[in-house]
Each structure stands twice: as structure tokens, then as C-alpha cells.
Symmetry: C2
Subunit: 665 residues, 2 copies
């Protein structure tokens, strides 16, 4: 084993067990602008010397490191934090060193014999002189004064009092000797996204269904009124399925049939036709100018626009003709269509990522993102990323975010756990989840704890969808209107990012294509639909209320603060989220049984919520406006799904004064 | 972000989550010769292709990698193992690739249309031809035959049957296309030690106390009879405190007093005098020749000899004069002695590892190990390693083991957890532990689970000591003879490595220097002692029996198989160890109350022990010879500490035949 070079063998401090970290630092952690990044590490040294340590951090490519203190938290664990105030990649590492002055000072306080103290004072004076040599002129002056007094004529005990002077300590601490400091072996990365990466409410719809004045196929201009409704409902992101020209060859008809009726518009995911591919707009949706107007209208309404990026082609996509080497060919020379034998998807050609021309392919796909960013789109819902190579995603997201760190990528990967987590690690900002199929109390608690309690939360931002155009879950098919309310409350309060396939959700559309299928009957994927937004049973008002509650209660903007509470009924689930300062505390109770009234005793952790067990407190149901006065940790809750299947309580504390009308705040 | 070079972007398989691993691969895991190293990893790819994967492993510096299979274990987890059949450092990594033939074959089985099958057969024939090009002549011949039949005239369905032929699969599997295989990003290391690193029973004694024929100071020749007793008691390692010349300056007298009586021999840890230092032998112990004879006698008796390496000097050590730059000097020019203010240890000079001459110091200390290895010593108990820098230990152990991979280092670091674990990570083969002070059931279970259930077990080999010359724990001071029996059984069965400071343990010496002290009265550290080994109350027979049980029951040679069992009495602790094939199962029940008989219902996991709950089974107490017939999972146990405070049961199953006298084996 080679002997360490230079001074490496003299660097005695050890830094290890740094947290958070993803796969030993192979991947970054994720935060949003304004977050405090809290770091912990084990820091220690042989023997009994006293340590000091700092966190070093900087935006990537900024030459100078900034520093913030690390403080001992017991058992050799140290803690510190820094705030990230801009988007982009930041780096952080740790620096720790033996502080010989602090060690000497600590020993000095414990010395009892005068002669020992006298010798120690000489040693200390030498140390202070060495420090003065690297201090500012002013500090050096003060240090030399102290040296004079330490070497002076008083008794050792009297001079010891000078040596322990707080000012000397302060000046010395400003000039530590870091020549033999240990730097943590790697520089770790945090990707800082805009705040909407951590908290958002998405509304998905098909613009082609918005035709007005009798038009079968709607366009962007027709959709602007809908944007106003979506904004009024409190959503902040509007998401459109692919908006590109749709292929004709092997086009699928209504309900995914192979037989196409003349005016069937085809699936928007069969991308590309004579009019263009991933950088073109479907003629019937309008011109690029119409798209720009639509996007600007969204922006005016405070809506972020997300588009779908599906890297696959219809047989009519220009790529197929222009870049045959990006596709796999069959022995007869035809292009290999998508298939999962015995199923065939002949309207779709996947890219052949094992192609020798992979680099040109990657560059072109990257340019698709760049094109739409040029059009003001910064949020991308990426279709089926788990069927394209992982190295491609790491590169393309890294490349796009290097230039546009505010870009957000949502991974639509309904795949196996390892695959979904890997996609998140290598760059996706947000991820679809299994929430769509997690219905029971046990399932929800297990899954949410996995997402919010361990290392997963450092890189995987869950995005909860109760439905999508591909998925009408069984629970919604059979639970009626209460099921839609229940799943909306769960999605919107368990996860700070959530979304709905909007028109179908508002109107509680629950008819599957056939029994046992999760596909919608007359799915908008293959045809246009008309939605009667004015129907009296619309859930629009309920959705608006839930979004309003999310906006008003900061506790709901995070997931790492989620805690489940015991409630003695398997059909009731209870949980809470609290802001760090406990000024915002939300407690949610949901009846998972869509058919029957259910009641149970809820048990709250009063101490953790900083509630006095001897004083009443108020829970204010933000859905209904009802207020309840509760006492102690155990209180009874009952929910009738035919009325409102959930409580979203804001916790209100008793105020000490009685001069105000409002006794609880 | 730079685009991957060469073919890196086409390597689609991901390998992550490799276990076991220590600090992301920064440190090796540890095993002993003959162990099977079991590896797990997450391995997956985008899309639906079929994977294959192998473990690659080799002794370090051997150019060729060996391979063993990895098999899928569900949820993208793969498992494999390899056996390490020689001491030294081994490397291992993982290799995984898409097997296009297997993917193709999988799809082929699911195709239903004749025309699809026909096209697939053409694609398959191409694949097989490509494989033939890299196969042996014989295999290539077979493959070409298959290609002929696949391209032949039968119906597609008939030719499909040929394509699915098991022989074709076998030949194809021998020649996978690994050009785009993914190799795990790092090569991990396993340090393979001799078996005694994992299982040993140590006996410590002071050779100077063995004087015969009226000699005050014993020597090596006097100790040889003692070696025979130690071997007869079933110990396998004999460990001696430092055997070097002892300093005179500031020598400590009896019971650590500052006043020295003329013939006080001093502490063996005050190393070095006129006669030499760390490579010399104390004259009164004998010559180097005597030492060699002693070591050879130990070897003949099957005893491994361990010596104490304490890197510190008495003021009279030759190093102090010859290498003043290896020590810290005080302002008056004197050498800084060891201190922990207000305590002083003026008979000890620590090395100054921050010295600019650190490299020469490291080299010299390394040569101390080399010297004793030259004398046939391969086991080193290292004194207070936590007061010397971590980088030094990593280097010196690495360097010694590179040349002598069979060397073993036991870290005597009774320090904080992070420090003890770091020393183990960076190379110590075995470690002292907190067992010495863990007495209650809760303490023992907590601590043993920490040591045996998590990552710690991959690098930290606990060595349990119920006493040492420095530590007479409170439990032994007050519990009398039962306490000594209890702690011996716990040490010897909870941990596969254990040791005792022998003479004091045999005779249950429990007198502290003063109340509240863990020091022995008249400690052998400062004086010679006479031990009456023939005393009728000696524990020697009990110790022999316990060691015999350890030797006869392979289940006791490991720790990762330890499981605690419920028993409904806080004073009783119950646990078991089983060999992988369940041929050796040991169940231990210990009464932790040294004063009173305690009883309780023990609950055994019958299913895990492969016991039929409807059949009786026998537990055979190997300490007393008693046999009990038990039924079902719950059975009653009662232990009187005045008789034997523990059961060490061997589990005996009912044999199916009644022709033998022994119904249980």
C-alpha cells in the first residue's frame, strides 16, 4: 500500500456518513429555490483534540466556496445547513480540522498545578503568535497584546484568566489553522429547481375537444376560455397531450379499433405526418402563432404550460424517411413497429437506441426540448421514459437543465420500482407513482412512508394522479361521486404535486370501455369529446376549494412533513402535515369506504404539535367550514361519504387573551 | 453535460444497489478462507429485453477474472455468490447485458400469427449466424445446422419448435454478445483472512507472574507448563502483554503508585529502556531464543501466539534519544509526556504523529510488525489504536497484510462508536467491544443486533472480553462465581471471537483497587502475582467445557446467524445460532440475575428451525448433560445461578426410525 503523499498522512480528521446522499454521491439530491439544505456527517479524530468544521457550498461553476458552520450534535455527529437561493446545480462539501487553540484552551481549564499552568501558558503564547502571523493587522495587534499579558509577570492562575478571555477566543476562532484540514472526499451536488417543482396542481385536457360553434376539432383559440376556468379552479399548471401532426398509416379509430372512420382524428401519441414531427403543430389545433397566443394567455392567468414529449413516431413522421438508421428494420426492409407479442402497435415506430447513429439521434431529441423552450415551454411531461435508455435521459436532462435550470421534467413511467427511482435519480424532476392504484389504508401508509421517510425523498418527487387518459382506476369506476372526492383529497393533501385528467374528473366520468378495463369508454385518446362543464353535479367547486386550501396552508406544500396518525377504523385514514414553525398545521381524515358512514377515534400527537394536553383546541374543517372543539389526544370523527368523505382540518390553538372575538388562531 | 464517449450511450443495462458494500465501496468487506461471498444487486434495463448477468471475481493482482452466475430473485434484484479459497484481497464486480437471443426467444413463444412467426424466424436465424461467428468450431457447426432448419421448408409453427430447442438455447447461452454489456462502476474488495480471524478463544496472561522455584520474575521458560494448561482448557490463542524492556524513569509502583519499591517491575506498557525498545525482549523474560522456544511450544500445542503492540515509549526508549523529531517538545525542551489534564502519565511519551518526520516514523513502526512476523508472530493485539491517526492504521495494516495476508490485528479501542467502527473499516481484523459493560437483556439485545444485523457485520468482527487487566467490571465485582460463569457463557456464545484475562478469571478474582474502581487490586500491570491454579473453586473446568462446546458446534463459529428468542422474564436472555443447513443448532438461555433462581417461558421459532410443531424434540444441555423433551414453541426454563446459570442446548431432532437407541440426533 502506497504511503500517502505530501501532508496527507498528517490529516487526522475523518469525515464520513454524510447525509443526505444518493448512491454514495453518484446522483444529486433535489431542492427548490429558498430551501435550506440540512447536512449531517460523522466527524472525529484520534485522541482528544478539539475539532471545528464548516460546510462549503457554491453554485456550480462559481469559483469561490461559501461557508456555513457545522455544529456538534452528539455522538460525533455534526449538523449544518445552507440556503439555495437560485436555480441550477450547487455543490457542497465539508471541511474539518483540529483546532489546537481550542484543544489547548480546553486542557488549560482543567489544569491544577501552577507549574503546569505556567508551561501551558508558554505553549499557548507560541500558538497565538503563530496565529497572529496570518491574521489581519488589527487582529494581529490584539493577539500580540494577549501574548504580552500571557508571558507577563502575574501568577500563572491570573494569567490563565487572561488566556481564557472571550475576546481572545473570538479573535483566534477567526483565524483557524487549516493547513492540515480534511476535506470530504467528494463534492456532492444538489439540483435546485424552481418552487413549482415541489408544489403544483396540474390539469390535463385535450385541446381538440374544445371546438366551439359546432367545430368537431377544437384549436388553441377555442381553448382560451377553458384556461380561465382552470385558473379559477385554482390549478397552476395546464398540461396538454402531444400537439403535433398525427400519422395516417395504421391510424387507430375510436376505442382503439383498427377500423378508422373517415374523420377519426387518431391518437396524438402517433406523432408525425407530412406536416412535420415533434417540432410542428397539428394543423387543426392552429398555427404556431395560435399556440403562442394560448401560452401567453396561460401565463397571464398564472398557469404554467406543460406539454407532452413522446419520443416515438408514426410511420409518416419525417424522421422515418430522413433518418432510417434511427429505426430498427425487419428482414423485409420494413421498419419494426412497437409490439409486445402478441400485441402489435403498428401505428408507432420506436426509436432504435442501440443504433450506431445513437449520437445524432440523441442530439436531435435534445433539440426538440430546445425548440419548445424557445417557445416558452419549460415543463415537460415525458411519455414512457422507461422504454428509452437511462444514459440518454441522464444526458438529455443534464444538457437541457445546464442551459435552462428552470426546466421541469415529469416522468410518466408506470413501471417497476427500481426503474422509476432510477429515472428520478438521473434527472427527472417529478414522477408518476403507484398512488393511482393504492386504495386501502395499509397500502397508502406503506407507500407514502416509502416515499417520504427514507433516502427516496431526496431525489424522487411524487406526482399523484387519481386518473389519467390511460387510467380510470377500478375504485373510481365503482365508488361514484364520493370516490372522486376521496381520491382528490388524498392526492392533493398527501402529495404536494398532484394532477387530474380534468374534464373527466370534474364530471366524474366512470364508464370503462368494457368490464375489467381501465380504459375510458370513448376515450379522448382516439376521438374528440364534448364535456358539459355546467352540469350541476360537477366537482369543479370541490376541486376549487381543495386547491384553495392547498394554497392557503403552507404545510401542504411539502411531503417530508407527512405523519400518519392512529385511528381505530381500517376504513378511515388520518394524517397531518405541519410547517417547521408549527404556524401551519393541517390534519386530514378521509373515509376510504365510498358507500358507508364510518367513524373512529383519532389519536393526535399533542406534544409534537405543541398542544397543551390540558387545554382545548379547535379543528376547523376547511372543506365545510365547520369548527370542532377538541380535548386531549383522542377525539371521535365520523364521515358520511354521501355528504363529504373527508375532513381537511386546520388546527387552531387557543389564544391567551379573550379580548378578541376569535379565541383560536 | 458531455455526451458519453464511444459506445457508453448504447450500454443500456443499469447495475446499482450492490450489497454488501461498506461506505459505497471505500472500504472492503471481510471474510475468511472458505466463505461464500453472497452478492446482491439491482439489475435492470429500459423496455422489455431479457437480461443476463455474472459476478466477476479474482484474487487481487491475478489478471484473469473468474465468473459465477447471477440469478434473478424478483423485483429486479439479482443474487450470486463465489467462494474465496485463499487469504488476501479479492476483487469483485458485476457484468450484465441484454441477451437479444433470449429476448427474441421469449417473444417467439408468445407470437400467434404465422406470418409474424415466419418473420421472427428470419430475425432469429440472423442472430444465430452472428453468434456462430464468435463460437468455437464445434458450436458454430451446431448453430449453422439450426440456422438451416430455421430457414427450411416446414411450416412456421414447426420451425418455431426447432427454434425453441433446448440444445440451441444451451449453445447460444455459451456465447453471449457482451459488446454492449454494462460493467458495475467500481471494483469492490473483500479482505480474506484466515479462519481464526472469525472464530477464536483467547487467553491472556502475564508471563512474568509464572516464576517457578521461588523466582519473583517469571520468564518464557517458566511459562511453558502454563501453555499446556491453556491448551487443555480449549483456548486457541495465547496473548501476552508487551514483552519489551520497561523504562525506569517515572516508573509506576504497585497499584499505580508514584512511589516505587526497589524491585517493582513497572508497567509493561512503559516500553523501552537501555536494553532496547519495541524489537527487544525484557531481559528477565529471557532471551530471543527463549521466546522462540516458547512460541514453538505454543505452536505444538495448537496455540496461536498474540503479542501486544503499544506504540508509545518510556522516557528511556532508544527512540527518544535517536529520533527526537518523533516526539512533541515542551518550551523547556523536555519531551511532552502523555496527559489528560489534570492527570499526567509521565512514564509514557506518545509519538507526535503530526511531526514533519511522520513518514520515517510510520516506516519504523511498520518495521516493528515486520520484526515480530519474522519471529513467527502473526497476531497482534494493538493497544489504544484510537489515539494514533486513522491514515496511519490504514497504511500500516494494508502494508503488512499485503506481504502477510494471514496477519491478524485486534483493535483495543474502547472508544466512541464511530471511532471503533472506523478502525475496523480501515483494516483491523477484530475489535474490542462494549460487551464488557453490557449486562441487561435490553442492552445485550440492542448491542448484538447492531453488531450482527446491519452493515457493521461486514467489516467489524467483535471480540468479547468479560474482563481485561484494565477492567474488572462492576457485574463481576458483585455477582460472585455465578457472574463469572454467566459472563463467560455470554461472551463465548454470543461472539465467535472471545477472550479472558485468564488467571484472574479462572479464580474469579473480583477485588477492585477501591470501591467504584474497575482496576484490580494488586494489578499485574504493576507487579507480579501468584495464582493458585489448583484451587478447588477454579473455573478452569467450566471454561474447558464451554470451549469444547464451541469447538463441537459449528453454529457457534459465526455471528451473522444470531437470533434472539422471546422469553417472558427480563432476567433471562435466550438466543440461538444455527448453521445454514440446520445440522448444528445451539440454543442458549442465560440467567442474568446472579443471585436468584429465575424461570420463564421460552418461545422458539419452530418453522425457522425446521421443527415439526406436532412432534416432540429434544434439547440437550451440553453444560450439564441433561436432556429435555420439549413440545411446541413454548417451553418452561428455570435456572439457579448457584448451580449453573445457563443452558447451552444442542437441539436434537426426532429421527424417523426406532431401530436405533438414539431417537434424536
Amino acid at each position: 500500500m502506497a504511503m500517502p503523499k505530501n501532508d496527507e498522512g498528517r490529516r487526522r480528521v475523518v469525515i464520513e456518513g454524510v447525509m443526505p446522499v444518493v448512491d454514495g454521491g453518484r446522483f444529486p439530491i433535489k431542492r427548490v429555490v429558498g430551501d435550506s439544505v440540512r447536512i449531517e456527517a460523522d466527524i472525529f479524530v484520534d485522541g482528544h483534540d478539539v475539532l471545528d468544521a464548516v460546510l462549503c457550498y457554491r453554485p456550480e461553476h462559481e469559483p469561490a466556496w461559501r461557508e456555513s458552520p457545522l455544529d456538534p450534535a452528539g455522538n460525533d455527529r455534526w449538523r449544518g445547513e445552507f440556503t439555495v437561493d437560485a436555480v441550477g446545480r450547487w455543490q457542497y462539501t465539508l471541511l474539518a480540522w483540529i483546532d489546537h487553540f481550542l484543544s489547548w484552551r480546553h486542557d488549560l481549564t482543567r489544569r491544577v498545578q501552577s507549574e503546569d499552568i505556567a508551561v501551558a501558558l508558554q505553549i499557548g503564547a507560541d500558538l497565538i503568535e503563530q496565529t497572529a502571523a496570518r491574521a489581519s493587522a488589527e487582529d494581529a495587534g490584539r493577539l500580540h497584546e494577549f501574548v504580552g499579558r500571557l508571558r507577563g509577570h502575574g501568577t500563572p492562575e491570573a494569567r490563565r484568566a487572561v488566556a481564557l478571555d472571550a475576546e481572545l477566543l473570538a479573535v483566534m476562532t477567526r483565524h483557524p489553522d487549516r493547513r492540515l484540514a480534511t476535506r470530504y472526499e467528494s463534492e456532492l451536488t444538489v439540483v435546485v429547481d424552481p418552487p413549482r417543482a415541489a408544489c403544483s396542481a396540474w390539469y390535463e385536457f385535450f385541446p381538440r375537444s374544445c371546438g366551439v360553434n359546432g367545430k368537431t376539432h377544437g384549436g388553441f383559440r377555442d381553448c382560451e376560455a377553458r384556461l380561465e376556468r382552470i385558473a379559477a379552479m385554482g390549478f397552476d399548471t395546464v398540461y396538454l397531450p402531444p400537439i403535433h401532426p398525427i400519422g395516417h398509416t395504421k391510424r387507430k379509430g375510436r376505442n382503439n379499433s383498427l377500423a378508422v372512420i373517415a374523420d377519426d382524428p387518431g391518437s396524438p401519441w402517433a406523432i408525425g405526418a407530412e406536416a412535420g414531427g415533434h417540432k410542428a403543430i397539428h394543423t387543426d389545433l392552429g398555427s404556431l402563432e395560435d399556440f403562442r397566443h394560448f401560452r401567453q394567455r396561460a401565463e397571464q392567468l398564472g398557469l404554467d404550460l406543460a406539454i407532452d414529449i413522446a419520443f416515438q413516431c408514426s410511420p409518416d413522421h419525417p424522421y422515418v424517411r430522413e433518418h432510417p438508421d434511427w429505426f430498427l428494420h425487419r428482414p423485409d426492409g420494413s421498419v419494426q413497429y412497437a409490439e409486445n407479442p402478441p400485441k402489435k402497435y403498428e401505428d408507432i415506430y420506436p426509436f432504435h437506441f442501440e443504433s450506431e447513429a445513437w449520437q445524432a439521434l440523441w442530439q436531435e431529441l435534445e433539440s426538440v426540448f430546445e425548440f419548445w423552450i424557445g417557445e416558452g415551454v419549460l415543463t415537460f411531461r415525458v411519455d414512457n421514459p422507461h422504454t428509452k435508455p437511462f444514459p440518454f435521459w441522464e444526458w438529455v436532462i443534464g444538457e437541457v437543465k445546464r442551459r435552462h435550470p428552470e426546466a421541469i421534467f415529469l416522468a410518466e413511467a408506470f413501471s417497476r420500482p427500481r426503474i422509476m427511482y432510477r429515472l428520478a435519480k438521473l434527472g427527472f424532476s417529478q414522477s408518476y407513482t403507484y398512488f393511482t392504484w393504492r386504495n386501502t389504508k395499509w397500502e397508502l401508509i406503506q407507500y407514502l412512508n416509502e416515499l417520504t421517510r427514507g433516502e427516496v425523498r431526496e431525489y424522487f418527487r411524487p406526482h399523484f394522479w387519481p386518473n389519467t387518459p390511460d387510467i380510470l382506476p377500478e375504485y373510481l369506476q365503482f365508488g361514484g361521486r364520493p370516490a372522486f372526492m376521496t381520491r382528490l383529497v388524498l392526492a392533493a393533501t398527501l402529495s404536494s404535486n398532484y394532477g387530474v385528467y380534468g374534464p373527466a374528473y370534474e364530471l366524474a366520468d366512470n364508464t370503462p370501455r368494457e368490464a375489467g378495463s381501465e380504459e375510458y369508454l370513448d376515450s379522448e385518446k382516439y376521438q374528440t369529446r364534448r364535456w358539459d362543464e355546467q352540469r350541476p353535479d360537477s366537482l369543479a367547486d370541490f376541486m376549487r376549494r381543495v386547491n384553495e386550501i392547498r394554497r392557503d396552508n403552507p404545510a401542504l406544500r411539502r411531503n417530508d412533513n407527512l405523519r400518519f396518525y392512529p385511528i381505530d377504523n381500517e376504513e378511515l385514514i388520518a394524517y397531518g402535515k405541519a410547517s417547521d414553525d408549527l404556524s401551519s398545521i393541517v390534519i386530514v381524515v378521509v373515509n376510504l369506504d365510498a358507500y358507508h358512514t364510518q367513524g373512529g377515534w383519532l389519536e393526535l400527537p399533542l406534544e409534537r404539535l405543541d398542544l397543551d394536553p390540558r387545554q382545548p383546541y379547535q379543528v376547523h374543517d376547511l372543506l365545510t367550514g365547520a369548527r370542532f372543539l377538541w380535548n386531549g389526544p383522542r377525539n371521535y370523527v365520523q364521515l358520511d361519504p354521501q355528504r363529504t368523505p373527508a375532513h381537511i382540518f386546520r388546527l387552531r390553538r387557543r389564544v391567551r387573551t379573550e379580548r378578541d372575538f376569535e379565541y383560536f388562531f
